[in-house]
């Protein structure tokens, strides 16, 4: 049964002092799923993403990524797991300003195993940036920078791709381009988890999970309480 699940959360709670950002959460994400985690700000989406993305450890509960229990591993091991298994994409396109697009992608390889310019080039080609590989971030548009981030997230062939509001800073056109890439990745069989507050984006995914105050709620509950989030 576990072999089919990329992510398993069992009774996971994350507290910051007295505040419980994530409350007693149970969820499973199957291999190859394209899932959206939705909710208003403060609902705990980012915290949840951090937990799944091995950027943080739960206060209580168990987290299993790709069959491996990551709950109480040492920080160093957690870093390794994240490095090997997870690709991260953020709303803010974090690129090293003094490295080219190619080098930024190779950076992920560098910390993982071995930089390989050819592979990096292919990754950039996959996101349609073959003619921009030697540009510096300041020479790329917002959408292009985000695409470099996507290529970087893919380079180590992760089992899980996590994206936190990846199109939040992009205009409609670039949003479309990036979402198309995600759809393509999904078709290639990758597991994608998208955090968003945008219902339209959510509609592009396979399954949606709704969060409120750190806990999962039903779609109807979400619809009735957060109608203001629904774009017209």
């Amino acid at each position: 049964m576990n072999d089919f699940n990329s992510v398993i959360l069992e009774s996971v709670t994350k507290s910051y002092g007295d505040v419980k950002a994530v409350k007693n959460m149970n969820l499973r994400i199957k291999k190859g799923e394209f899932v959206a985690i939705m909710g208003p700000s403060g609902s705990g989406k980012s915290t949840l993403l951090n937990l799944i993305g091995c950027l943080d450890k739960p206060t209580t509960g168990k987290i299993i990524i790709d069959g491996e229990d990551v709950t109480s591993v040492k920080s160093r091991k957690l870093t390794e797991i994240r490095r090997d298994k997870i690709g991260l994409i953020f709303q803010q396109f974090h690129l090293v300003p003094y490295l080219t697009a190619l080098e930024n992608v190779m950076l992920a390889q560098y910390y993982h195993s071995m930089p390989d310019a050819l592979e990096a080039k292919e990754a950039l080609a996959e996101v349609g940036l073959l003619d921009r590989i030697n540009h510096l971030p300041r020479q790329l548009s917002g959408g292009e920078q985000q695409r470099v981030c996507v290529a970087r997230a893919l380079i180590n062939d992760p089992i899980l791709i996590l994206a936190d509001e990846p199109t939040g800073n992009l205009d409609e056109k670039n949003e479309e381009i990036v979402m198309d890439i995600f759809k393509k990745l999904h078709m290639e069989g990758r597991t994608l988890v998208l955090v968003t507050h945008d219902v339209e984006i959510g509609k592009m995914t396979q399954r949606r999970m709704y969060l409120e105050h750190g806990a999962l709620i039903t779609p109807d509950h979400f619809a009735s309480h957060h109608s203001h989030l629904i774009k017209d």
Binding site: Q92, F93, H94, L95, P97, G142, Q145, N169
Partner: protein, 427 residues
């Protein structure tokens, strides 16, 4: 509202502000140290250079200084003299406070064991009450600080010192004398006896002379109240253009220039003032000491100036680069402020006020730290406190504020031109 924003803005990122204040304080304290030293080193070194002895010689007009090459000439025959009573007036001239010490001399020859030996009557450490009522002690001990005496000095104030003499080490060796021995001599065919109070190691021609109390020599030579010449040790300032102008031609100075010259402690002007109070005298700077002093002091002052400039430039470059290093962090604040609707003017006003505060605090801290450090250095080198000049404080603060403002302004002008959107959405 402005003050609230200011307070908030200041306390946010306190660490950054603190670092700015600390680095400005460091730069300011360096300036303060250099300024204090620069202002004081001339004075302190000048005092140290008094160890070279007198820099002014006073003698009767047109009278040659005695210089014996071993001939039979009586040094006192046919000479003119200075009145001892005039000597007190040296401490009444305009630059009286700069007169560190003075000693009068009267030289003659005596016969000991058939050979001639020079004898000098002088003040060793005489107590004087000058016209202002002040009591001073002056004499050869103060004028020639390098003298080393084995045995004891002669003290004019004690009756015991009558008939005593300090003899130069060469004479002591030649005549096999030590402190306590008696020294019979013949002066003008009359027998006399001196008691050796001490042997002086003067280093130079003085080792071949005998020194006695001036009043005793005056009595024996029948020249009461008369003095042959006087050594004066004065604190002076190095020569400059004005002094050189006077040297070239005293008459070339206008009356204002002359007044300025008179009121500056040049060796020549102090000598001039001494001539004014001692009748029939001629006071001249002893070039060996006076000119050398001037030369050395000028050199040291120049060196301190260069070091000060160096210190200034290097530390402020450091502070500047530190301020420049904080550009990006401030840009977000600016973008945010602009997005909320703050005008460019408001933002600039904020930065200027902040910078001024940082500069003020940093400058004050630097002033105190620097003054303390200057004192430490002063004690270490000269064994004395530096005169803290209050004037340095406003200078240090002004420079600090200027640097803080400059450091921020160039950044601000670049930032202010940015659009908030770019900053908030950019990487």
């Amino acid at each position: 509202m402005f003050s609230r924003i200011l307070f908030k803005s200041f306390t946010i990122n306190l660490r950054r502000k603190l670092m700015a204040i600390i680095s400005i304080a460091m730069g300011a304290s360096l300036i303060v140290v250099m300024l204090n030293l620069w202002l004081d080193v001339g004075d302190k070194l000048g005092k140290e250079l008094k160890s070279y002895g007198s820099n002014i010689v006073v003698k009767p007009k047109s009278q040659a200084l005695p210089f014996d090459i071993g001939t039979d000439v009586d040094p006192l025959e046919g000479r003119s003299f200075i009145d001892e009573s005039d000597l007190l007036k040296i401490k009444t001239i305009f630059w009286a406070n700069n007169i560190v010490a003075f000693a009068p001399y009267l030289e003659t020859k005596v016969k000991i064991d058939g050979r001639d030996y020079p004898v000098i009557g002088t003040w060793f450490n005489k107590k004087l009450v000058i016209p202002t009522g002040e009591t001073i002690h002056t004499g050869v001990k103060a004028v020639k600080p390098w003298w080393e005496v084995k045995g004891s000095w002669i003290s004019e104030q004690s009756k015991k010192s009558q008939g005593s003499a300090l003899i130069g080490q060469n004479i002591a060796k030649k005549l096999n004398l030590k402190p306590g021995d008696s020294l019979p001599l013949i002066y003008k065919n009359k027998n006399n006896n001196l008691r050796v109070s001490g042997v002086v190691k003067a280093g130079g021609l003085e080792d071949t002379k005998i020194f006695v109390r001036l009043d005793e020599l005056q009595k024996i030579a029948n020249l009461p109240g008369k003095v042959g010449w006087v050594d004066v040790s004065a604190l002076t300032v190095p020569e400059n253009e004005l002094a050189r102008k006077y040297e070239k031609n005293p008459d070339s100075l206008s009356s204002t220039q002359f007044e300025k010259w008179y009121c500056t402690a040049f060796t020549k002007s102090i000598a001039f003032q001494i001539e004014e109070v001692i009748r029939g005298s001629e006071a001249k700077p002893l070039k060996q000491v006076a000119d050398s002093e001037s030369f050395i002091l000028n050199k040291i002052q120049f060196m301190m100036t260069l070091l000060a400039v160096l210190a200034f430039v290097s530390s402020w470059l450091g502070v500047w680069s530190l301020m420049g290093a904080g550009v990006l962090e401030r840009s977000k604040e600016v973008g945010l402020s602009k997005a909320i609707g703050a005008s460019d003017l408001a933002i600039i006003a904020l930065f200027i006020t902040e910078a001024s505060l940082v500069g003020l605090i940093g400058g004050l801290v630097g002033y105190f730290a620097g003054s303390g450090l200057a004192q430490l250095i002063g004690y270490n080198v000269f064994g004395r406190a530096i005169d803290i000049k209050i004037a340095v404080a406003p200078i240090a603060v002004m420079i600090s504020v200027a640097i803080a403002l400059l450091g921020n302004l160039s950044i601000v002008s670049t930032i202010v031109r940015l659009k908030p959107k770019d900053i908030l959405h950019g990487a």
